[in-house]
Amino acid sequence: MTDALLSVRDLKVSYKVGRISIDAVDGASFEVPKSTIVGLVGESGCGKTTVARALTRVMADNATISGGQMLFEGRDLVTLSQRDMNALRWRDIAFIPQSAMNSLDPVYTVEYQLNEVLRRRGGLDRKQARMRCEELFELVGIEAGRLRDFPHQFSGGMRQRVAIALALALNPKLVIADEPVTALDVIVQRQILDQLRELQQQLGISVILVTHDISVVAYICDRTVVMYAGRVAEQGQMDATLTRPSHPYTMGLRNAFPDLQGAASGELTPINGAPPNLASPPAGCRFAPRCPFVIAQCTSVVPPDVEVEPGHIAACHRAGEAVALRNQAALTETWMTEA
């Protein structure tokens, strides 16, 4: 694809813990086309946040990018100098953290914090910054009169809007949002998602939305990237991946999710077991120990990326049988195996 804004290729990120090194992300590849929302989904420990952090190159002290490329408009973010990366952050790639409560400084007004970005990083003068602040607040639907308020004077949803305003301050091309609505109530969550979608379309930017919640993906994303144990299990257009999941993990996730529009009080089907310890991941497919469709080669050979339909890729040895597996996966008995 040539119209990709960002292309991540075979990315590896490892954490040093004591004397061992853990590959939290082990060969992830995906693309973010222009003007789309890509949902990066997975459970805790699957590496989704690590990928998001690697893209900004703001990582934990013990984390290193140990391989791969992150091509942003053709430039590889992995090899970019610290200085060039600094110039890129916020102007081209902005970050919305999970908890706006912790990301805003409680002792400064939100205007001060916006100004800091606009003037120090954006080089705007006082008057321009003032105007931009008002513009940004209007954009995210907060009255300009509240610019002088401190973070604690805002509700959780409002604070998340302030965080979005901060991220959009310098007109970035790519916004990475790490679980932006997880801590919020359903109604506020929906309003923030609507806002995010509207802004994304209005400004024509791309968004990587990191989340554990497939219903958030279903609501707002154009593309889905499902991660499991440091690798991409499945990716493609959101409709395709959610209506025709082709990796057993995605099928399982769908089943485990309560659906208000679905039939009443059916059993929710859990995926037995837990994600593997990445210090000693299983050979072959990492989902194999929990997978009800496991065959011999799953435990020894790393599954190839199979294109099940154009642009829809599943890393599974049995991706060719996806239709049959999907039918089986819909039955609770299928998942009742001892893990």
Binding site: E43, S44, G141, S155, G156, G157, M158, D185, V186, I187, V188, Q189, R190, Q191, D194, H212, D213, I214, S215, V216, A218, Y219, M238, D239, L242, T243, G252, L253, R254, N255, A256, F257, P258, D259, L260, Q261, A264, S265, E267, L268, T269, P270, I271, N272, A274, E338
Partner: protein
């Protein structure tokens, strides 16, 4: 499916006009003309029959957790009364309170916060037995039985482990086992799966349902997520700013919410597939301010259907078909 009112037997729990008002702020905020009372629970009434499971649904700050705490006498009502099996919970003390504590239990939201990290699983589960005066020799069998009840395979292997060695889902089952080990009659579960990953959440919910049915427990399930409440509760009570908005069979509420707030709440629940409505929610923006709730109906400032009467008169719960609704539209 039965609501409390229809049930012939005497209700296990009966809440009458219960209130829990907290004093907040001090003289300064009083001088500034701000109210310094937060009505976390304000004039709530409902009954729960033996064996019934009821979801308490609402957003943060709606009073659902405070209501749960009232039911367990972790807080004492500042008005009205909470009756459990014929006794006024607020007046319990001494031996009576002790036996009440054994008959009621709480399952916490975050399992890692609910247990002492320096206790082994054996010690965590022994503590309630010790408090109940159960002989040492009998404890081990009871512990194993409780762990089997929550479907932890080969329970013996967990006894000498510590909380950090267990996954969230496993530990939440231990927390559930601890709540159930004294065979309570009534359990309050406060968002018991919100900290867990999706793939294990379903397992814990299934265990909760299964155990409740097997022991014939009466349960309150506190959550902001109607999709989860639906899996465990046949009846749901919707709260907003300390008051009950709607109360009735969960399926009816899911398929045809009556109260304007419930309508917004149901519409806001995200669903995990692409074909869904993206219409704006039928609710005003902004968050409720519990210190200065609007006059009349507390929901009126965000309600798309509000009219003059809503500002002047507090709506009371009225019977509408299978449920009760507090709204002037009905």
């Amino acid at each position: 499916m039965s609501t409390g009112a229809e049930n012939q037997a005497k209700p296990l729990i009966s809440v009458r006009d219960a209130s829990l008002h907290y004093k907040v702020g001090g003289a300064l905020s009083a001088l500034r003309g701000r109210s310094n009372v937060v009505k976390a629970v304000d004039g709530v009434s409902f009954e729960i029959a033996r064996g019934e499971s009821v979801g308490l649904l609402g957003e943060s700050g709606c009073g659902k957790t405070s209501m749960g705490r009232l039911l367990l006498k972790l807080e004492t009502a500042t008005g009205g009364e909470v009756m459990f099996d014929g006794a006024d919970v607020g007046k319990l003390s001494g031996e009576q309170l002790k036996s009440y504590r054994a008959r009621t239990q709480l399952i916490f939201q975050n399992p890692f916060d609910a247990v002492n990290p320096r206790f082994s699983i054996r010690a965590i589960l022994s503590e309630p037995l010790e408090n109940a005066g159960i002989a040492k020799s009998e404890r081990e069998t009871k512990i194993i039985a409780a762990l089997e009840l929550v479907r932890l395979p080969q329970p013996e292997q967990y006894l000498d482990r510590y909380p950090h060695q267990l996954s969230g889902g496993q530990l939440q089952r231990v927390v559930m086992a601890r709540a159930l080990i004294l065979q309570p009659e009534f359990v309050v579960a406060d968002e018991p799966v919100s900290m867990l990953d999706v793939s294990v959440r379903a397992g814990v919910l299934n265990v909760f349902r299964d155990v409740r049915d097997r022991l014939g427990l009466t349960a309150i399930y506190i959550s902001h997520d109607l999709a989860l409440v639906r899996y465990v509760c046949e009846r749901t009570i919707v709260m907003y700013l300390g008051k009950v908005m709607e109360d009735g069979p969960t399926e009816d509420i899911v398929h045809e919410p009556l109260h304007p707030y419930t309508k917004a709440l149901v519409a806001a629940v995200p669903v995990p597939h692409p074909d869904q409505s993206h219409d704006p929610l039928p609710i005003g923006k902004g968050a409720p301010d519990p210190r200065n709730p609007p006059s009349g109906c507390v929901f009126r400032d965000r309600c798309p259907a509000a009219f003059a009467r809503c500002a002047t008169e507090v709506p009371t719960l009225r019977q509408v078909g299978s449920r009760t609704v507090a709204c002037h539209l009905f």
